[in-house]
Each structure stands twice: as structure tokens, then as C-alpha cells.
């Protein structure tokens, strides 16, 4: 039976086809309508969703597709998927309307692919079947490839190719991992199925070595997408070269496909391996946070800076995921949404300046506060959201990711500390990641200081042929940014409903971890004791103190 999700997926597809068929002049208008219309079913979905049981799949619908493979055309969402779909649907119009003045030639191709991309992204989040997920996951590459290639900046072709091949390679290896899980299910249950929920329940029985392999394969695929250090290098390039809408979508949703993949599959399929390798993944995340942050600091290109900042930010997201406790996971999912809003907005802001001055170099831009006060206000606002200022959205999620990491010390779990939960990380991880917060302030304020503040500069590339654009933002641009700003503010001031919405799904994901984590903590505790007996020095008291 058809479900609401079908409407959500098919509607953009339909509009993409419409754009392709309609005359070029109409493309913009159709895309605008096509991006706004899905908001309706989206709201209905949000309204109909049973938030109390957010961990269950809703709006489930499934059609047989390839019976012999047990492959079904299945859709359904839990709360996390639905929220991410909401983010996608929200960013759709932002991208379309944000491109009105930027995209002049061949609007048909641009808006067509943009709208098609929308469908694929919603499909990723809505899929309940591994193959459907994978199809949508991969399919997102193509529209963006075309968008970057046709509408990007000077180095776009290289960027697009790199983006495509890098992520394609990663996801093929991930596919091997996913198929292994399917195969394992077949070994146990005797049937082929790609149903994610079914696989999740059987995958855990895999031997640890197999889990480690699957983890490796899946992480290779999803880490590229996230992107996690050291497989991040495609991102700055792609972001820098992509058109504004592409960057917004890329930062806003596409990167989340990676973290969503980790959330859904890595965490779901291979718990024991995750516990064992969480510290390693966390270390990579932390390196990414600080390393990318420091690189941001020496960028000259504003967009590249924000692009690298995505690497840094997504590090927190992954860190929260491998904290393996409610707070960390919830924070991480919230981070996905928040990062989409604030970084998307930053890219939008940068795009607006680029349209006016045809440069993104900090050497050429400066002191825009005096010539573009409205833009500057928004810029500062979103910078602050991105820095993680409490009261704005970034903070809540960043805080939860860090606290989640902090909590998840095995020693504390073993001691039964009231606030300890989860995994195999601990305060030192949180502390190290915390430096990312400082670094974030460093580079973002450095950028703000150069671009927004300072003495006004008049970039050489500024010409007046863009007469349709005023010096400062026009109404369309203001309203776009306002929508995002309201989102940022709303999620910062009152995140509780969203957090509570996320929690059921997170709890379900974490359900198999309880016992495993206890066992892990006990094992680590044994090791720790053995080590401290060897040394038998009192310096261990900072962790073991109080006994």
C-alpha cells in the first residue's frame, strides 16, 4: 500500500521530470513550486508520526521487487530518519530559491538535477531495504556531479571527478560489507533478505573477526562520505568548487548520509566490533576535529574554510556516535540537523557575497559590515551558531556529543557512576575534542574578522552588471536566511522536543549494547587493575580514586 513517504520521494522526482520536459524559461518556477510542495506531506508526516514510539518504523510500505533476492521496495521511517527527511525537505526550497540569481544559463539542467537529488536523499533516509538505501545513497552522487561540473567554479571538473570517484569507491567497499551481512543472515536464517531491521537482528551474531571486517568495510564507505580524517580530502575541493546550492546540499544533507549510515548500519550491525574499535574511530574523529580546524585557520578562501570546518564539525558528530550512549548518539543526530542548518546557511551567505564580488578570497573581501550590514548580521549569527554558542543550535549538539564522550569511560561504567554510560571512550577523549571548540572559535572568528569586520575593501572583481542584486541582501535572500536563522535559534532555545523525538530511535539502536558494554567495561577494568598492580603506584588515583 502506498505510504506518505512515497509521495515525498516521488514528488520531487515528478517535478524533476516536469522540469526536464517543460521549456527552459519555466524551469525556475517549476522547481520553486516543486521544492515547496513537499513541505505539505512533510508536515503531515510530522504530525501523524507517533513520536512516543519513535523507534518503530512508521509509514511502512513494502513491495516485492526481486523475490529471489528477498529484495523489497521498502520504505519506512523512524524518528531519526523522519527528522533528517524534514531537514532535506526544508533545505530544498532554500537551495532552489537561493540559486535564483546565481544560475543563469541552462536552468533546466540545474533545477532538474537539484530536484532529483532531493528525491534520492529522501529515499536514503526512508529506505528500509538495504539495496534501496544503497541505490539512493549512490544515486545522490550523480546530480551533484553534474551540478558541480556544470555550475561550479574554475577547478570544477577535477573536483567533481574526485568527489564522484572517491565516494563511489568508498561505497562499493561498503556494499561488500553490507552484502556480507546479508550473507551472514542467509547462513543463519536460510533466506535472502535485505530488510534492514531483520538484518540488524541477525547481524549481531557474527563472530567478532567478521564484525571487524564488516566494520572496516562499512566505515570505509561511510567515513569517506562523512568525511572522517584521513579520507576527507575530496570535501574541501568539492565544496569550494560546487555552486552554492550544491554546497548547501552537500553540507546540509549529503554528509549526513555518512553519519546516518554509521548510525544505522555500523552501530546496528556490528556492535562488538564497534565497541572494540570505538577508541580508534574516536581518535580519528578528534584528529579530524583539530587538524581540520587548524587548517581552516590558514585558509584564504572563505568557502574552503567553511568546507574544512565541516570536516572538523562532522568529527564531533562521529565522536558522539561512537560514544555509544544515549547522550552522545542523540547529540550526534541533533548535530546532523544543526550542522545542516548552520553550515548550509554559511555557504548560502558566502554564495551571496560571491555573486556580488566574484571572489571569496579573504585578501580581497573585508569590512563588509559597513557596506552589507544585513548580510553581516546574518553571517555573524551563523558563525556563532557554528562556533557552538549556547542558545543557538550548534551548542546543544556539540555539548551532548562532548558530554556523551566524557561519560563513556569504562572505568566509570564499572564503578557505576551515576552519570556514566556507554562505551569505551572517556574524559580524555572529550578533553581533546574540546580543543576543537577553541579552534572553531579561532578560525571562524578569524574569518569573521577578515570578512565582516575591518576596513571596507572593494574587490577588484566587482562589476556593476549584476544590477538586479542590491549592495546588501534583497528580500529573497533575507527571507531564506531568516528561515535558517529561525531554525538555528529555535533548535538552540528549545531543542527538547527534538531530543525527545530522537531518543526512542537511539534507545533502540543502543539496546543490544547494554550488556556488551558492561562486559567490555569489566574487561577493561580487569586489565586496568592488572596494570595498576604492576605499577602499584598511587598516581592511579585520579581514575580509581575514592577506594
Amino acid at each position: 500500500m502506498p505510504s506518505l513517504l512515497h509521495i515525498l520521494i516521488l514528488m520531487p522526482l515528478l517535478f524533476a521530470v516536469l522540469i526536464a520536459l517543460a521549456p527552459s524559461k519555466q524551469a525556475r518556477a517549476i522547481a520553486a513550486i516543486g521544492s515547496l510542495v513537499p513541505i505539505g506531506p512533510m508536515l503531515v508526516a510530522l504530525w501523524k508520526f507517533d513520536w512516543a514510539n519513535g523507534g518503530d518504523l512508521h509509514f511502512v510500505s513494502s513491495y516485492n521487487w526481486i523475490t529471489d533476492l528477498g529484495l523489497r521496495l521498502g520504505v519506512g521511517v523512524d524518528s531519526v530518519s523522519l527528522l533528517l527527511i524534514a531537514l532535506t525537505v526544508l533545505l530544498g526550497p532554500i537551495c532552489v530559491f537561493g540559486s535564483f540569481s546565481a544560475v543563469k544559463d541552462n536552468p533546466k539542467v540545474f533545477y532538474g538535477w537539484l530536484t532529483g537529488l532531493q528525491a534520492a536523499m529522501i529515499g536514503v533516509f526512508a529506505a528500509t531495504d538495504l539495496v534501496v538505501f544503497y541505490i539512493c545513497f549512490e544515486f545522490t552522487l550523480l546530480p551533484l556531479y553534474v551540478l558541480i561540473n556544470l555550475y561550479g567554479s574554475s577547478n570544477r571538473k577535477r573536483a567533481a571527478t574526485k568527489f564522484f570517484l572517491y565516494t563511489f569507491t568508498g561505497s562499493i567497499i561498503a556494499l561488500a560489507g553490507l552484502v556480507y551481512v546479508v550473507f551472514h543472515h542467509r547462513g543463519i536464517e536460510g533466506d535472502w533478505t535485505f530488510d534492514i531491521a531483520t538484518l540488524t537482528s541477525t547481524a549481531m551474531g557474527m563472530p567478532v573477526e567478521a564484525q571487524a571486517l564488516v566494520l572496516l568495510a562499512l566505515m570505509l564507505g561511510f567515513a569517506v562520505k562523512v568525511p572522517l580524517f584521513p579520507v576527507h580530502t575530496w570535501l574541501p575541493l568539492a565544496h569550494t568548487e560546487a555552486p552554492t546550492a550544491g554546497s548547501v546540499i552537500l553540507a546540509g544533507v549529503l554528509l549526513k548520509l555518512g553519519t546516518f549510515g554509521i548510525y544505522r548500519f555500523v552501530l546496528g550491525f556490528v556492535p562488538e566490533a564497534v565497541i572494540a574499535y570505538a577508541p580508534l574511530i574516536a581518535v580519528l574523529s578528534i584528529i579530524g576535529i583539530i587538524y581540520a580546524g587548524l587548517i581552516c585557520w590558514v585558509q584564504k578562501d572563505v568557502k574552503k574554510l567553511v568546507a574544512y570546518s565541516s570536516v572538523s564539525h562532522l568529527g564531533f558528530c562521529v565522536l558522539g556516535l561512537v560514544a555509544l550512549n544515549n547522550v552522545g548518539l542523540t547529540g550526534s543526530v541533533l548535530y546532523m540537523i544543526n550542522h545542516g542548518l548552520s553550515t548550509g546557511a554559511l555557504f548560502l551567505c558566502i554564495g551571496m557575497v560571491y555573486e556580488r564580488f566574484h571572489t571569496r578570497s579573504m585578501d580581497e573581501l573585508g569590512g563588509l559590515a559597513s557596506t552589507m550590514p544585513i548580510w553581516s548580521s546574518f553571517m555573524v549569527f551563523f558563525v556563532m551558531a557554528s562556533v557552538g554558542l549556547p542558545g543557538l543550535n550548534g551548542f546543544v549538539s556539540e555539548f551532548m556529543c562532548i558530554i556523551g564522550t566524557f561519560q563513556s569511560s569504562p572505568a566509570w561504567v564499572l564503578e557505576g557512576r551515576a552519570g556514566a554510560a556507554g562505551g569505551s571512550l572517556g574524559p580524555w577523549f572529550a578533553f581533546a575534542a574540546g580543543f576543537g571548540v577553541i579552534v572553531a572559535a579561532m578560525y571562524l572568528l578569524y574569518m569573521t574578522g577578515r570578512v565582516v569586520w575591518g576596513t571596507p575593501k572593494h574587490p577588484a572583481g566587482h562589476d556593476d552588471d549584476h544590477s538586479e542584486l542590491p549592495t546588501d541582501l534583497n528580500k529573497r535572500e533575507i527571507s531564506l536566511l531568516t528561515v535558517l536563522a529561525i531554525g538555528c535559534l529555535g533548535l538552540g532555545v528549545y531543542p527538547t522536543p527534538v531530543i525527545e523525538a530522537i531518543e526512542p530511535s537511539v534507545e533502540r539502536t543502543l539496546a543490544p549494547y547494554q550488556d556488551l558494554l558492561q562486559a567490555h567495561a569489566a574487561e577493561v577494568g580487569v586489565r586496568h587493575e592488572a596494570a595498576s598492580e604492576e605499577h602499584s603506584e598511587p598516581h592511579a588515583e585520579s581514575h580509581e580514586g575514592g577506594h
Binding site: 549556547p390 558530554i403 557512576r417 572529550a430 572568528l445 525527545e500
Partner: protein, 761 residues
Amino acid sequence: MSMMPALTTLLAAADGPFIAGGTAPAWVGLMAGLPLLGAALCVVCACLNVKSKAPGYLTVGLLAGGFVTALAAFMGGSDSDSYGVATIFRWIHASIGAGSEASITANIGYYMDGLSMLWMLFVTGLATVIGLYSTEYVEHDKGLGYCRFFFAFNLFVFSMSSLVMADNLLLLFLGWEGVGLCSYLLIGYFYKKPEAVAAAKKAFIMNRIGDLGLLMAIGATFVVFGTIEFRPLFEFIRDGVDANGNAIAHTWVVVVIPLLFTAGAFGKSAQIFLYTWLPDAMEGPTPVSALIHAATMVTAGVYLVARMYPLYAADEAHIALSVIAWSGAITAFWAAAIAFAQYDIKRIMGYSTISQLGYMFAGLGVMTTTGAVFHVLTHAFFKATLFLCCGAVMHGFAGQLDMRKLSGVGSIAGFKITAIAMLIGCLNLAGLAGTAGYFSKDMILAEAFVTPGEVIFLPWAVGLLMLLTAFMTAYYTFRVFFRVFVGPVKYEAGDDHHGDAEEEHAAEDAHGHGHDDHGFHPHAPRFAMNAAIALLAIGSIAAIPLYFINAEDHGWAGSMVHESTAAFAAPEVHHDDHGEHGEPHAMLSADVVPVSLGAAPEGDGEAAHHGDNLGLGLDPHKAMYVVSGIIGVFGIGLAAFFHGPKGLGGLFIGNRTDTGSPRMDAVARYFGPLPRLAERKFMIDELYDTIIVKPLLVFSHIFHAFDKLVIDGLVDLFGSLPRWLGSLLRPSQDGMLHGYATGMVAGSAVLLLLVVLVALL
């Protein structure tokens, strides 16, 4: 003193901190809400492109409303039952799962007790007054800039209120970062000035370093106590247990967590390693310096430590407190030493703020929360006065702040009020006997000599250091006053682009401005500024009686502190020969227990302290009145001697000339390079730049290159591997039939051989 630990534990159990138990009325939220409304209205004004002073007046009105709310709350709240928690709405709530019932719960909720009440009173009060001053001060920037200023101003008051009234650590953190943001926005108000932008950035980032400590502290607190809400948290601490019921004394909990909080506090309050942002922050408009960087925001660190005091006191080794005491004293001395040799009057005030904050921390460290808090209060008034006066000068002289280029300002028409207020402020800062500043400083100084060495590491040394600093403070304060406000009238206008210049003024001045003395007319403060200055000067005088009311509690501040968590360790030494208060542990006489951690208030003018560390055979509290009084006068005298103008009817003993102070120069020679070094702030900024910023920058560049060359290079290398392989294989396709045939045969042979080798052997 071997029995001390046992006894203090006993005391802690017997009587804990005051924990506000009731429910506060929700309207206390107006203290935060009205400024927030103001901020929103400023945004509206900006959108409507209001070009008048409306945003300023709106702000002042709303802030006054906030002050009235604070007063109302104070009146209602003086009855301690009505102190309590007012929950507005649930902000963040995340259960930690794992079968645990603990959850990260952070409400937008207000925790009202003496401490927050006291803070709110002076925050809202000062904000109102300084807001009034600002309406005139930034008038040259009417329009968007004006809106921006008052938006940030309002937002600041909102954040500060949230910080102070928060009922949980996370809301506190919101305020904490919020004031940081506003500080950033306001320091960078003159955004066209690179120094201002750099200073703003620096302030934000250095604060963030401390914030990391605070964040970690919140995390640790949550892990240990399972909550970040104050009430349950303090109940645990009062009982000396963590959430599992295990004792926290003697564990890392009471060492590490307080130290982490301290790191946060040091960042915000510009202590020890993290002070360098505050002098630079003087690039901001002067009202901002007065409100944020002198009176309120920078005291947030003191507030935080005072708020979390039970946790500090729960450590019987008092490691964190020792750290605080020593850091405070050292900072106080260090900043005073720098202030000694500065010429920019605003910067001198900046350094003096750091120095005074050092006092406050030292006070917290030597366990007189009352003294520290009282000093916060008095300092807020007199330092705000001083800043506003500096601002008036700056405003009047086109941003001139160099004391070498200003003289006799007090004699210029229109600057009378400024001069008088300046004098009052300086006297307070110098700690002249009888001023509010004198009393508050004494409380801290005296306590340093009273606190036994078992509690704090070498407390008397802390005291001596602070005494020395007091002397230096008196000197450098009056150095400013004598050079700028008295003596022959002589001035150079500042650089218009520097600081608080006015376009209006520049337009008037057809001759141009800058260093053209003849064409320059000082621009005396008008009503709003004068009124604000006067109000604050009066405020700093009015603080004196506060010391005497509720004398049994060490003054009004003490009585407020006693109804707060900071009471946990308030007045340290209990004297059972003082009959008028019947505290629960009154029987613990001073002979037996030299220090008590219980809330045993102590009046001033008590009988002899046993901790006569000064060796004067006096009660330190009394002795200190004398000692510090003398020191203050001596410092002022010295300043007069070196910097006072010549003559003037024999009133002044100085010999300052137009070109400088010959006496001073003569003395300076004895100190070799030291004065030069002090003038250059001991090169600490340069040091940080060299050992931290530059290396980090180098690292970043290396990382950037590494990312491009190595990581991306590796990726490209992997990408080019197939190509390389292809180029290797390509010659095999040479187009020759025979080559192909040979390839096929040889290939098959190799394949078969391989199979034979692998499978059959």
C-alpha cells in the same frame, strides 16, 4: 592540628551551605527577559532603520525595569524562604539511558539565593546607569550602529542574568558564553579598527580556553553527581556524597572538578595565564569597558567559584583553593606591576581590574567568600565610575587616552563632575581609609593573615603580596589622577580614528583635528553622561554603609552570602566569645578549632584572632585597617610626589613639568630595564605569540601543506596507481600478432604453472 580533618568533616555534615529550597516567583525571569526583549526591540529598530536614540532609551527603560524587578525580588527575597527556583521551561532534557534514571536536564530556570540576588542587583543597576551613559556616548553612531550597540548591550545583560540566576550549570554556561559573545560584539564595536577586531577575537578565544575547563567540569559533575541542576547537586555536596552515596572527600572529585571550574573562572575573570585579553578589550567603547570588563562580566569567574564553593571546601587539602589564592595574589601583583608603567589611562584601568579581580580570587582562596563578594560589589561601582570618567575624557578629547598628553582636565569647564567622580573612584581603588574599596579590600587582606597554613599554602605570603599590591595600586591610581586631572591645563586631541571619536565633532572642527591643539575644543560630557557618572560615584560612596549594616554577618554582602551556597565556607574563624549569634556549632571555640568551614558568621571588631600572622600582636582585622590605611596613603603620597604638579599653593608636593616627571625618571633609572619592560607589559603577549600562536600557525600551515601534499597526495597516488599499472601493461599491446600469441601462450603457461605449484604441491 591533627584532628582538623575529622572535625571539618563533622562540621560539613552538621551544617551545609544554604540551599534555596522554595519556589521563586516566575517573574524573577523578567530580569533576564526584559533585556532580551530589549535586544529583540533593537533588532526591530534596526530593521525599521530607526535613526534616533530610541533604541538607547528603550534599553535604559527596560534595564531599569530589570533593576526594579531585582529590587522587588530582593525585598521579597530577604525573607530567605522565598529564595528558590523558578522554572520557566525545559530547555534541554536528555536521558542517559543504559538503565539509568539520570538525565541531563537543563531548564531555563532561575535559582534565586543571596548570591544571585546580590549579583543581579548590581548588574541590573549598573547596566541601567551605564546604559544611560551610553545613550550619549555612542550618539555619533545613530542608526544601525546604535542599534547594534544596544542590541549587544541588552543581550549582555540578558546573558549575565542567565549566568547569575541559572539553576543549572548548562544555563550558566549559556550565560557564560553569551556574555563572551556580547563582549566580542562590543569590543569589536569599532569594527573598522583592526585593533578592536583583534581584541574582540582574542577575548572570545581566550575565554573559550577557560570555557573548555568549565565544560569538562560540567561533564565531570554530571558523571559524578548525575545531575547538573544546582539544588540536587548541592544537596549531594552538602551531604558529602556522590550520586551513589559514596563519600566524595579525599577523592579526585573534590580536586579535579574544582580545578576545572577554576580554569573556566580564570578565563572569564582574566586571571594568571589568561589575563591578556582584558587590557586589549579596552579597545571597546568605554561604557562597555565599564560594565562588562570591569563591573560585571569579569566577575563571573568569582561568581562561579562562589557558587560552587561547597565543592571547593569539600576538599580538605584545599588544593583548588590554594591554587586560587595564589593565582589571585600573583595576578594582582603582576597586573599592578604592569599598570605601574602604562600611559594609556584606560589600559591602566584595565590592568587595575585584573589586579582587583586577583584580590577577589585571593579572597575566595583564603576562604572569605564574603570579602570577595563585597569586593566585587564595591569594585563594580568604583571601577565603573573610573571607566566612565576615562570615557568622558576620551569622549571629550577625541579619543585621547595618553596621560602624557593630557593635563589639568579637571580645570576645564564641563569636566568638574568627571574630575570629582574620578577622585572618588581613585580613592576607592587606592583604598584610602574609610572608602568602600578600603573596607572590602581589608576583609580579604585580613583573612589572608588569619587563615592557617594548613588550609591554604602559605596564606600569609599571599597576604603580604596583596599588601604590596595595595601599595602599588594606590600609586598607579593616583599617578593617573594627578597627571590627567590636576595641574596645568594642557591637552592634545586624540586621533579621530582612535577609539571613541565622533563624526559630529570632526565635522564641527573645520581645522581638522588630531594634533592641532588650537583648533580643538574639548567636548564636555552632557547630561546623560554626567548623570551616570554622578550616580555611580554616589553609588561607590553609598557602598560604605553596606559594610556596617548587618555587621554580625560581615556587612550586608555577608548576609547575602550567608544565604547562598557560598556560605559554606564563609567566615572561617569562629569565636565563641562573641555571644550575639547562636550558630549551631558555636561551641567550637577558636582555641580548639582554628578554622571552621561551617557558616559561622563573624562580626567585625571582634576580639583577638589567634592567627596573628602579622606578628603585630593585633587582631588582623583591626590591624589591617591600620596597615592598609597607611599603605594607601603612602601610595597616594608617592604618586603625588612623583606625578603631582608643581606648586598650586603648596597643596601638591610634586614637580611634574610639561614634559614629564623628572623625579620619576630619576628613580626609574635605578630599576634598569624593568620600567621599560613593564611598559611593554613584560612582553607576555609577545611571549604567547611566540610560544603558542606562532607555533600553532606554523603547525596549521604544515597541516595545510600536509593535507594537500601528503594526504591528498596519497589519495591521488592511489588514484594514479591504476594508471601507472596501465602504462606498464600498455607495451604488451604492441599490435604484433606474434607478440599477442606469445603473450597468450606464456600467460597460459604461467597460469598453469601457478596452478600446479599452488594446487598440486
